[in-house]
């Protein structure tokens, strides 16, 4: 277990500091926990692990109008008014082939579904380019014209991106008990939309890292990220033995971890102390056991008075 | 039908029905209240079926009444303070709001005036949206009283007409259904008749130069006991005696609305309607203009093309803008909620653009039957539906939360359209000693 958590932390550090080759790092966020803090964290890790000027940092923004302090060493481009072709041209012109290139796109929701695949493919032309982009999952995808014309066979942006991405960082609000996802639907309704307190924490976030390895394997680790001291704590799932655990194990192991029917019978036959009390006096099932005591007043005349 | 005695009062002061019972109850009220002259079951409610028999004979359009004179004379005063100018000009029919002392005018329904929250009426330069569930047309009655009030104001002084009605409808007979003034209950009417005889006034005189004494008498008729605590001192009452009137929906406005008092704008397209409206406002800029929009977006008048968001919302927005640039404009509109859901963007956004929004929710038949049973001995206590308030002019805009549902009920009686606090009969039994007697009799 510990070696696994160890390796997961290392992997996270490698991913966040761009040491791990990954052409598309997809950050999934919601209005309850935005990616801004994570982007600053990534930039911090890159800066501390790379010598100055060895990473060409470019920020292409559809959404934000200015760089936040945590990203101040990026070159900022507002592309909100450009058409998709112009954006691709601009990005290509800013790539420096001799160093690592980090292309931050904020956010990919603004690229239309039909252009998405082409957009990403045209940018990732060489090995040393990494696209880091945010996709807001709070934004519902409505059927666009293309989809409705084509009877909805074209995949949604979300499926497309999670399929293409080599690394997915899903951000969740840092809450001790993560009922969050279940409630998200209701949170989006008016009662809570625009007025939910306690979200968008700037100190802690919960992060689910999905990394597609070269081997073809995909690994998934959850973390808690402390943004103040830049430390990551792998979240160890509380192993609470529950019934569902049994179901989980069924058919996966060559040996038996569950109790068989026979074992269950034996288990049920184990005599527990309180059974004896019942045996003593309650032989007749359902009978009311009553022992006569000296203080009791026995009335001989009463035809119904029969303790036995 | 509740309005079968219509003919009684039409003959007005000349011959008031003397045989009226002492209780002004409404006999034979059907469970589904409806508008006179309309079939109760109305699938395609609209102006088309509003045709009725020829109008009351014997009362033509008043002759020799120079209304056009008023239109022709345009004030050359520079509009430095339009509002002040209007207040001065229409002092007689306005009443300052108790909240911000802005001038208000009556909707034609005294109880609705009270509901508007200014302890007066509806502020000038504002709009009122009345939504109604079901296929009833109670809101139409409000609109007609709204219209009658304008006409009565207009006729206060024959020399200077002060009001013009604008109706957005295809029904050019709309004004023929406007209710006449309520002339008191039978006792009061008898008294009046005697007085009339003494004064030897002919009916014609009565209409052409309204007698102030008589008007006061009418007012007293309105102020019967239970309303008294809400009324101001008699002196103030006198100042605002022309502020509002009470209308009897079983009667007709008499004489009929003169073509110079009303402009019909046919439902064509919104651009054209707006243009015509601007023209009228220009012509009538020295009068109060009451814009009446009956059954807005009713498919009987409005084509499907006109009911899209891109058509309706800009039009309503323009109307709102007009109320801000024309202090002399007030708007009352009704919309059928059964056709346009309250959950829709359309209605919600319209509500946000109107200054005041109320909803009438008529009771279903079984509820009415229940109420009729509960108030067996007091049929006048039977309400016809609920009034929900969503917005009130200037109060809501200032941030007060006024959404009140199920707190008021309305009752469409012969003598007036009443709005009162709603209580289910059982509650009333506990609250009002008055009702206790009723219950005692029952048990």
């Amino acid at each position: 277990m510990s070696s696994q958590t160890q390796s997961s932390a290392v992997l996270l550090q490698r991913v966040l500091s761009l040491k791990e080759a990954s052409p598309l790092i997809l950050v999934l966020d919601t209005i309850f926990q935005s990616s801004h803090t994570l982007l600053s964290e990534i930039n911090h890790r890159i800066s501390t692990s790379h010598p100055a000027n060895t990473v060409n940092k470019q920020f292409f923004s559809f959404e934000t109008t200015a760089l936040s302090p945590g990203l101040s060493d990026f070159e900022f481009h507002d592309v909100s008014c450009l058409c998709i072709k112009q954006v691709i041209e601009l990005i290509s012109s800013k790539i420096n082939p001799s160093v690592k290139n980090l292309i931050l796109i904020d956010s990919i929701n603004y690229v239309e579904n039909v252009h998405l695949s082409k957009f990403i493919n045209e940018i990732i032309q060489s090995e040393n380019i990494t696209i880091l982009t945010t996709y807001h999952t709070s934004l519902p995808e409505f059927e666009n014209n293309y989809q409705s014309n084509q009877q909805g066979v074209y995949p949604s942006s979300y499926s497309l991106l999670t399929f293409i991405a080599s690394t997915i960082l899903e951000i969740l609000p840092h809450t001790p008990n993560t009922h969050m996802q279940d409630d998200e639907e209701s949170l989006l309704k008016d009662r809570t939309l625009l007025q939910s307190k306690g979200y968008n924490n700037t100190d802690f976030i919960t992060l689910h890292l999905t990394n597609k390895r070269k081997s073809g394997r995909s690994v998934n680790y959850p973390f808690t990220l402390n943004l103040r001291n830049h430390e990551a704590y792998p979240l160890v799932k509380q192993q609470t033995p529950t019934e569902s655990d049994e179901d989980l194990l069924k058919g996966l192991t060559t040996f038996n971890l569950t109790t068989s029917a026979k074992q269950k019978i034996v288990k049920d036959q184990v005599e527990l102390p309180y059974f004896q009390a019942q045996e003593l006096m309650g032989e007749a099932a359902g009978a009311i056991v009553y022992q006569y005591e000296k203080d009791d007043d026995y009335d001989e005349e009463d035809p119904y008075e029969d303790p036995f | 039908m509740s309005f079968r005695k219509r003919s009684d009062i039409i003959s007005g002061g000349a011959n008031p029905a003397p045989n009226r019972g002492p209780v002004p109850s409404i006999p034979g009220r059907g469970p589904i209240p409806s508008i006179p002259g309309r079939t109760p079951v109305v699938p395609g409610r609209g102006p088309i079926i509003a045709t009725r028999g020829p109008m009351v004979p014997g009362r033509g359009v008043p002759v020799g009444r120079d209304v056009t004179g008023g239109i022709a004379k345009t004030s050359d005063e520079t509009e430095i303070d339009q509002e002040q100018e209007i207040v001065n000009k229409f002092k007689e029919i306005l009443k300052p709001s108790s909240l911000n002392s802005s001038p208000t005018i009556s909707t034609g329904i005294p109880d609705l005036d009270k509901l508007m929250g200014h302890q007066a009426g509806m502020p000038l330069g504002s709009s009122l949206l009345i939504e109604e569930n079901g296929s009833t047309d109670f809101s139409g009655i409000i609109l007609k009283s709204f219209g009658s009030q304008g006409i009565i104001h207009n006729r206060l002084d024959a020399q200077s007409p002060n009001t013009h009605l604008v109706v957005l409808t295809l029904n050019t007979n709309w004004a023929k259904e406007l209710p006449g003034l309520y002339k008191g209950n039978s006792k009061q009417r008898k008294k009046m008749a005697i007085k009339e005889n003494e004064d030897k006034l002919s009916v014609q005189n009565l209409i052409n130069k309204p007698d102030k004494d008589l008007r006061i008498a009418w007012r007293y008729g309105i102020n019967d006991a239970k309303k008294r605590e809400l009324e101001k001192s008699a002196a103030e009452d006198d100042i605002y005696k022309n502020f509002n009137h009470q209308f009897d929906i079983t009667t007709k406005l008499n004489p009929l609305v003169n073509p110079t008092e009303i402009t019909y704008i046919p439902v064509t397209n919104f651009a054209k309607i707006y243009k015509q409206l601007l023209q009228v406002l220009e012509q009538q800029k020295d009068k109060i203009v009451r814009l009446i929009i009956p059954s807005f977006l009713n498919p009987a008048m409005y084509s499907p093309m006109l009911t899209t968001l891109t058509e309706v919302l800009p039009f309503i927005h323009k109307l709102k803008a007009l109320t801000r640039t024309h202090t002399n404009l007030i708007i009352a509109a009704t919309i059928p909620l059964d056709l346009y859901s309250k959950d829709s963007i359309l209605v919600k956004t319209m509500e946000s653009l109107f200054d005041s929004v109320i909803q009438l929710e008529p009771f279903k038949q079984d509820m009415l039957a229940f109420l009729e049973k509960a108030y067996k001995n007091e049929p006048t206590k039977v309400s016809h539906g609920l009034v929900h308030i969503f917005k009130l002019n200037s109060l809501s805009d200032n941030g007060q939360m006024l959404v009140t549902k199920n707190e008021y009920s309305f009752k469409n009686g012969r003598k007036k359209f009443e709005i009162e606090e709603w209580g289910i009969p059982v509650d009333d039994e506990a609250d009002e000693g008055e009702k206790q007697t009723t219950k005692d009799i029952e048990f």
Binding site: L193, L194 | L99
Partner: protein, 269 residues
């Protein structure tokens, strides 16, 4: 609930609009409301605060000195009289303050905007709004009624956000006053869905991904009450606000009461 009257603060250090920090960071705030909780009273106080850094709701913040910032108010649903009257009650004569500018898009909005032509909206902003905002001294901008364009024309949420972006870059702080009635954007109810509802929902969520601060005015879930008008919730937006001296947003929920005489009281919840 404490019955004691409370003061209005949005940030730590008793700040409402953090004037000093605005030299460093842009502040984007939404003021959302529903039917029944019109935000006019709050907006009045915020205009006062934007101009003078005063707030009559708070003790010791009532003496006005010099104008701290220019204010541009853009409205598509009200004329200038609404706010002139409101601020007069707070003792501010907007007409006499040259730093206050009211851009009236209300009075003849739809004679300038043709619902079927999105270009007419571009023209509206290019001719009526952007040129009138000082480029040299960035003002605090308030805008209300923008949703009307989205609901009544063919414009898309992204196009509308474009104008909002431009306003953001022209201002040091932007307040977007917008309704949040579920009828307008609740896409979870199926019965009345329309593409405009989608657009407005999309618009709201995208806006929420850009804001630093969200202020929400809502009625009590129990309905009308005599002593409480509604709740005022202050919550962090998606974008962290980097103020000076560790300035932080104070997430809070107040109960508030707007009386008939328009006086306002706040209570902590």
């Amino acid at each position: 609930m404490t019955s004691q009257k409370q003061e209005l603060h949005l940030f730590s250090g008793n700040a409402i609009i953090p004037h000093k920090s605005l030299t460093k960071s842009h502040l984007f705030t939404t003021i959302s409301h529903v039917q029944g909780t019109s935000p006019t009273w709050l907006v009045n106080y915020l205009i006062d605060n934007a101009l003078y850094d005063t707030c009559l709701l708070n003790e010791g913040q009532s003496t006005r000195s010099s104008v701290k910032s220019g204010v541009v108010f853009i409205s598509l649903i009200n004329d200038s009289k609404t706010y002139e009257a409101g601020l007069k009650k707070l003792g501010v004569d907007l007409k006499s303050i040259p730093q206050f500018q009211f851009i009236d898009l209300f009075t003849d909005l739809f004679t300038k905007v043709q619902p079927q032509e999105p270009q007419s909206i571009a023209k509206l902003f290019d001719s009526e709004v952007f040129p009138h905002i000082s480029k040299t001294k960035k003002p605090i901008i308030f805008i209300e009624g923008l949703e009307l364009l989205l609901l009544s024309t063919q414009i898309t949420s992204i196009q509308l956000l474009g104008y909002l972006s431009q306003l953001t870059s022209l201002s040091k702080s932007l307040f977007l006053i917008t309704p949040s009635d579920s009828e307008l954007h609740d896409i979870t109810t199926i019965n009345t869905q329309s593409s405009r509802q989608h657009q407005y929902h999309d618009f709201l969520i995208r806006v929420l991904h850009r804001t630093n601060l969200n202020i929400a005015l809502r009625p009590l879930s129990t309905g009308k009450a005599k002593d409480v008008t509604g709740t005022l919730t202050i919550s962090r937006g998606s974008v962290p606000f980097e103020g000076l001296d560790g300035l932080e947003i104070l997430e809070r929920e107040y109960l508030y009461l707007v009386s008939r005489d328009n006086s306002v009281k706040l209570f902590f919840r």
